[in-house]
Symmetry: C2
Subunit: 259 residues, 2 copies
């Protein structure tokens, strides 16, 4: 199978660098084809702006979504954006690897999503009607592909537990896993999160590699997170609120998972 | 009072550009001093990397937090980082203005947090003991200052409601408001969120300005979000889980607000 890694860490001699090399070699030894978008090494441009389109502006001034649409439709996107989209088309699975900085991904990876996720590619896809509100949240250009987060954090696991002060890790990652990955159609596998990285010694590193190897070996068998599909009947269209008879009276991120 | 706006939009002829100009002029007319960090206009560097420190590396290779600590302590940070920290020291209130892209801030603003929030400035501050786990979550370098988000989104309000498909807006913003603003000590005011921006006409724009003016006029009177302070007795130290007798059996972001 084809595996794409989107990887963001500024130093190759780091825990993340080592885990990235381990993952590539483990996947290749198992016969998979691997491409890595090493965003720091590529000097990836983070900021979405008018230079991302080679097409004439759709209006009088630059408009992020309208000009993304125009550039995508006309095949006039910046070459770095088009190349990443092509890698996504090629991939059967995508692993996003990053250190958790301020409870989200590093800016350079956010810039990958902001720019590669073009209008017509990752959003604004499919018909909008009274029964179908676009191909999103379970449908879309990336459906049939799997995605997984590989995340490191300096913080302690208990600080990210259900009652931990940082908030539960599942909730912290929801805007990424649901909002960025499930949205354009990925099946999202449970994340592999490595905590308290300042205390990594040889024994712990061996255990991380073992966990990662297991996750890579089961990329095609693991059960994805049970997010609810938007157009499968659970939501009222176009308000897109969860039907009143499902998890009645409850709110929050958790209701968007089938129980 | 001194108000700093951290502002990220690639086009000044936009709703965000207009609201930014409105806010500056409204605040100045009320007698306040205003500085704007217009991140796109400044060509702000988004990616945290080894060029952010002018100090010798703390170890054999670049280490994001250890080298941030060293550079901050020695006064050898990159000049753009030090300048933003100085603006923060000057400010009595900080307004972060951005369009919500993929359920978070644009990469260029994430890069502002990744880089300006140095070790020793925004984290790694204060003693760590059995009764006090660092000056964070309600204490820290930025305590006594107020912060507010001003956010626009193309999505509909119902999609961000308590049972809306995107997840509740309060939860989407929690990693920012609690994790990035309350963490180094800001008092965080409720956000001003403007929805469905593609449908903005003159009448709606006037209403947005009116709402924004009201929020600016009450910056020093509004009640901050009631996040729980880390070291005030609600959390078990060092696990930093909420005490068992508070909101017993409950989890999620909501338990970190006093009810």
């Amino acid at each position: 199978m084809n595996v794409l890694m989107i990887y963001a860490h500024p130093e190759s001699h780091s825990l993340n660098g080592a885990l990235n090399k381990f993952a590539v070699s483990h996947l290749e030894n198992a016969g998979h084809h691997v491409q890595v978008s090493d965003l720091y090494a590529m000097n990836w441009k983070s900021q979405l702006d008018a230079n991302d389109t080679l097409a004439p502006l759709a209006g009088d001034h630059f408009h992020p979504s309208m000009d993304s649409k125009q550039a995508f439709e006309q095949g006039l996107q910046s070459a770095d954006i088009a190349a990443e989209q092509e890698k996504l088309r090629w991939a059967d699975a995508v692993i996003f690897q990053f250190p958790l900085w301020w409870f989200s991904m590093p800016a350079i990876m956010k810039g990958w999503f902001d720019r590669v996720y073009a209008y017509g590619f990752a959003y604004g896809v499919g018909e909008h009607s009274d029964t179908h509100w676009g191909d999103r949240y379970g449908e879309g250009s990336l459906s049939g592909k799997r995605a997984m987060l590989l995340v490191t954090t300096g913080g302690w696991e208990s600080h990210y537990s259900p009652r931990g002060i940082n908030g539960p890790i599942d909730d912290i990652l929801f805007p990424i896993q649901h909002g960025m990955l499930f949205y354009p159609g990925f099946e999202v596998l449970p994340p592999l999160v490595i905590y308290h990285t300042s205390k990594t010694d040889d024994k712990k590193y061996a255990s991380y590699c073992q966990q990662l190897a297991h996750r890579l070996d089961t990329l095609w068998q693991a059960e994805p997170l049970p997010f609810r599909q938007q157009n499968a009947g659970d939501y009222v269209i176009p308000a897109l609120t969860l039907r009143e008879d499902i998890a009645p009276g409850e709110g929050g991120f958790g209701v968007h998972m089938k129980s």
